[in-house]
């Protein structure tokens, strides 16, 4: 029993995509342009050469936010999307009928269709791979060259993630929607 979350020191991110490859190899994710559980968001730069806005070229690593108040879970008609015992938002592919409500409901665009099972798939914090084996890190955290990610138990006040969230300013994405994401971006 835990409440897993992730803190992202996003300023470290160099958009190398190591996390994406590690995730795909660990979890057997499909290849394909829109088939990914995690990704790095980047906008085309603002300004005209040579007067470019460095600030506009920030890299934002993203994935399922594992919301405490998840709209995907709320709309799922078959209860395929559920909270597991660690607060991780999961999809039970046996129950999913690919009605795609959850994909529309998710404000973070975190879900895609796995063509093999014809069901919805997304990040699950490596719950059925690494965590199931008793490991304590996700594939993306372990591999990250600049160590963007800290994964851990938000309910444990002594965990590294709890400590870092006490000490450093951070924000969540689309906070105003009230989804209560468990991905925290460190400033």
């Amino acid at each position: 029993m835990a409440r897993y979350g992730m803190a992202l020191d996003y300023k470290n991110c160099i958009n190398c995509k190591a996390c994406e490859v590690a995730c795909k190899e660990e979890n057997g994710v499909l290849l394909g342009a829109d088939k990914h559980r995690i990704w790095v968001g980047v906008k085309e730069i603002e300004g005209e050469f040579p007067l470019l806005s460095i600030a506009s070229n920030t890299f934002m690593p993203s994935q399922c936010q594992h919301c405490d108040n998840a709209p995907c879970e709320e709309v799922c008609p078959t209860h395929a999307t559920y909270y597991d015992e660690n607060g991780v938002v999961r999809v039970d592919s046996d129950k999913c009928i690919l009605c795609s409500y959850c994909m529309n409901a998710c404000p973070y665009d975190a879900r895609y269709v796995d063509d093999r099972t014809v069901t919805v798939d997304k990040c699950n914090f490596c719950s059925d791979t690494r965590l199931a084996r008793g490991e304590v890190t996700t594939a993306c955290q372990a591999t990250c060259p600049t160590k963007v990610r800290i994964f851990g138990d938000l309910d444990d006040p002594n965990s590294e993630i709890s400590q870092v969230l006490r000490e450093r300013e951070h924000f969540t994405l689309k906070t105003h929607l009230g989804t209560k994401p468990k991905l925290f971006y460190l400033i």
Binding site: D9, K11, E20, L31, T143, P145
Partner: protein, 799 residues
């Protein structure tokens, strides 16, 4: 075959085939995967059952980061970072993670093959190893063998050329070259870091490392560490940028991911960095900002250099016109750099030669760095320590008939003016051109290629094709059917890095360590590690080679008369370096460190007191050495040159027509004719040159490369995103899709190297994107014969 099918079946059990895009039909069924096609899988979910973990070292690029392979049921399902290695600091980049796809690439070379079609056509037949070795020696009806060539050339060993790419077993292959006795060795250096290594070498006595973990002010010019990942620099550095302890000034013509992390990005005109550094030097000298104590103690010819800078008038105002960087920025950077010195780094960089003045640029950078005293010191450039390994037995006979190295400047002999200094790795482009233009002193007829792709890796692909076509015998040792392999007469399949143990290697630095690549699984198909390939080959040809030498080499005949044949042959026995297994050689290499061999087997990494020093301090952080044990300073700041001083004025190279001090010349100025564009090339984090071009996983991240064209220029030309563009120059043409962006100047274009291969045996890489070397002209850097890659102007048109 039986084994291989069952492996595939395991993969199939977990995931169905998911290949996107068409499978090109290979010219020969040797390359095709009809058997596996229907069951091909790309990724496998890791299981929760039993697994074997094997520590290894990555070979997806040159960094050699430490990985731990997870093996389930004989299949490698995951590569994880190995936290124990101070160089790679518990990380694997996207390429490192995708190493599995190099192992299970369906297009891999699987069997020895010999050519049955025309040269370059890519038609081969599968043979046994013995038949392949025999074809190398005796030839076939399609090509001549070594025996005939050497007989015709009267034992001139230099008629055979040896070339190799960078890798942990490059040295093994080089032992073969040394024993064979040719004088022609070409490696990646002249297409890569030759000028920077040598520029720093002659100035500071060695090519140093940058301590980016502690530097507080960094100028990164033409180095793109956010995309061209170098460990540990990349990891140390980008945790500290953006106002978190390390100020970054990025100097680059285009806006890179490194620029995105910079405090200041200054787009410089390509090839004018030298003027920028000279102007920085001027400010520092003129305002006396340099570290006087350091200069006093460790500079040679300082006054001469100072007067030279003044006399030439290298002011920021002068440099502004040349570089496009405002004089006020140059003043500011020079002052800031010295304020932060010695914890300031003008980053040496590591990549290819940009421009013809590259060697002088690196010299100027090294001298500028030293003016701040940031040499052999924490937060500056460091020499570090290295843990020595024991050597092994080699053979290096002298053959009287072997012609000398191809640049012969001895009196009365015809020489070449290709370059001033011939280095160990040779100069690929000038060598190739000389052979093509008939300026070689003797026929060049054979080529051994190891892990190297000349068709893709050097400017002017058309010339390389012509060069390869003109050779009698080409033997390639590789893992992939690359464009170069298509030109081979004999193809010897090497196993990938996950299927072999390689020579143990020592890594110097502030935190020195020894690491080894352990074999993760047995070689698939009929592939072998290069040491075994060479063992088989030398067993076959060593004695017959000696027979030819006996015929033509009078020195050898005399020796035999003196000492008897058996005794003489010992010196010529090519099998000696390959007799022992790699494991035995490694055990001997580290035998000076008690317990090291076992530790390397178990953990992949070793250094004295590792058990005491190595600690995990948080989920993401490890300590390798206590702070006071780190080798930041090993010489008290003294350069490693023979004089023990920074060499400002190199009179020895002046004799060879090279400027003894960094000097700006009119012809270095940047100009682009109206209607043309300066072609830039570079790197990114997802591919390593052409070596990873066919990796399905990486290909999924980036399907093809795009040409960067300034947005406003593209609009004027009616070019939109994704439009097909033809890029052309005097060297040739290539086709590539457009990416209009403001990240590049209106008179420049850029695209990434390593795409656009023409080998039909590569499912994913075949004609994917454009090949920069098809259009880059073969400009040669005059000091070391390096390929200057940013000297080409191109035309573009919408197709």
């Amino acid at each position: 075959m039986a084994v291989e099918v069952s492996r595939r079946r395991f993969l199939q059990g977990s995931v169905a085939m998911t290949v996107l895009g068409g499978m090109s039909m290979a010219p020969s069924n040797l390359f095709s995967n009809e058997k596996e096609k229907g069951e091909l899988s790309i990724t496998t979910k890791t299981g929760t059952g039993k697994a074997v973990l094997v520590p290894t070292l990555c070979e997806m690029c040159v960094n050699k980061c430490a990985a731990i392979a997870r093996v389930e049921d004989g299949v490698v399902t995951k590569l994880n970072p190995n936290p124990m290695f101070p160089k790679s600091r518990n990380m694997l980049c996207p390429r490192g993670n995708a190493g599995i796809q190099a192992l299970y690439d369906p297009d891999r070379l699987k069997y020895p093959m010999i050519r049955i079609g025309e040269k370059g056509e890519g038609k081969f037949k599968r043979v046994t190893w013995d038949e392949a070795y025999d074809a190398i020696w005796n030839g076939t009806d399609k090509f001549k063998g070594m025996k005939q060539i050497l007989e015709e050339e009267k034992d001139n060993r230099s008629t055979f050329v040896f070339c190799a790419g960078e890798g942990m077993a490059e040295h093994t292959f080089k032992n073969f070259y040394t024993g064979f006795g040719s004088s022609n060795w070409l490696n990646h250096a002249s297409l890569c870091l030759r000028t920077v290594v040598s520029g720093y070498g002659v100035t500071l006595g060695t090519y140093p490392q940058a301590d980016l973990e502690n530097a507080e002010y960094i100028i990164m010019a033409g180095a793109n560490r956010a995309e061209a990942i170098v460990t540990p620099d990349t990891m140390d550095f980008f945790k500290r940028t953006k106002g978190r302890g390390a100020k970054l000034i990025c100097i680059d013509p285009r806006f890179t991911n490194t620029a995105a992390k910079a405090d200041k990005w200054l787009p410089i005109k390509p090839g004018t960095d030298l003027a920028f550094v000279l102007a920085l030097t001027y400010v520092v000298l003129n305002e006396e900002l340099y570290d006087k104590a350091y200069v006093e103690k460790y500079f040679k010819s300082f006054d001469v250099y100072k007067n030279h800078i003044y006399a030439e008038g290298y002011t920021p105002e002068w440099a502004e016109k040349i570089t496009g960087i405002a004089a006020k920025d140059i003043y500011e950077i020079a002052r800031d750099f010295m304020a932060y010195a010695p914890k300031a780094v003008y980053y040496p960089g590591r990549r290819s030669t940009f421009a013809k003045n590259d060697f002088q640029l690196r010299r100027a950078m090294a001298i500028f760095q030293a003016l701040g005293g940031g040499i052999d010191t924490k937060g500056g450039l460091i020499f570090g320590k290295k843990l020595p390994l024991k050597g092994h037995e080699t053979v290096a006979p002298m053959y009287a008939q072997a012609e000398g190295v191809d640049v012969d400047r001895t009196k009365g002999k015809p020489g070449y003016a290709d370059c001033a200094i011939v280095s160990g790795g040779g100069g690929w482009v000038p060598f190739r051109n000389r052979v093509l233009e008939g300026r070689s002193l003797y026929p060049v007829r054979g080529l051994f290629v190891y892990k190297h792709n000349p068709m893709m890796n050097m400017p002017n692909t058309a010339k390389t094709a012509k060069f390869l076509k003109g050779l009698d015998l080409i033997v390639t040792i590789d893992t992939m059917p690359s464009d170069t392999v298509m030109y081979a007469d004999v193809v010897l399949p090497e196993c990938t890095y996950l299927e072999r143990t390689d020579p143990v290697k020592t890594f110097g630095g502030a935190e020195p360590a020894i690491a080894v690549r352990n074999k993760v699984i047995d070689p698939m198909f009929e592939t072998k590690p290069v040491i075994e390939i060479l063992r088989g080959l030398t067993e076959k040809i060593s004695k017959p080679l000696f027979e030819i030498t006996k015929k033509y080499d009078e020195d050898v005949q005399d020796e035999i008369a003196d000492r008897g044949e058996e005794d003489v042959y010992k010196e010529y026995d090519l099998t000696i370096p390959f007799k022992q297994s790699q494991e035995e050689l490694n055990e001997h290499a580290v035998s000076g460190y008690p317990g090291a061999y076992e530790a390397l087997k178990e953990h992949g990494v070793f250094y004295p007191k590792i058990e005491e020093y190595f600690k995990q301090v948080s989920v993401n952080e490890h300590v390798y050495y206590p702070e006071e044990k780190k080798a930041y300073s090993v010489q008290g700041g003294a350069p490693k040159t023979p004089s023990g001083k920074v060499e400002c004025n190199l009179r020895s190279i002046a004799k060879k027509g090279v400027d003894p001090m960094p000097t700006w010349r009119k012809e270095y100025e940047y100009t682009v004719p109206e209607g043309k564009f300066r072609m830039l090339t570079g790197r990114h984090a997802q591919f390593t040159q052409s070596g990873t071009a066919n990796n399905a996983m990486l290909h999924d991240l980036i399907h093809e490369n795009y040409i960067w064209i300034n947005k406003r220029v593209a609009k004027k030309m009616g070019i939109r995103f994704g439009d097909l563009i033809e890029v052309s120059s005097r060297a040739g043409k290539t086709r590539i899709k457009a990416y209009p962006t403001e990240k590049i100047a209106p008179d420049q274009v850029f695209f990434i190297h390593g795409f656009g291969e023409e080998s039909e045996a590569l499912t994913w890489a075949y004609r994917s994107g454009g090949n920069d070397n098809a259009v880059i002209e073969d400009a040669v850097e005059p000091v070391y014969g390096g390929a200057a890659m940013h000297e080409t102007n191109v035309e573009i048109r919408k197709v």
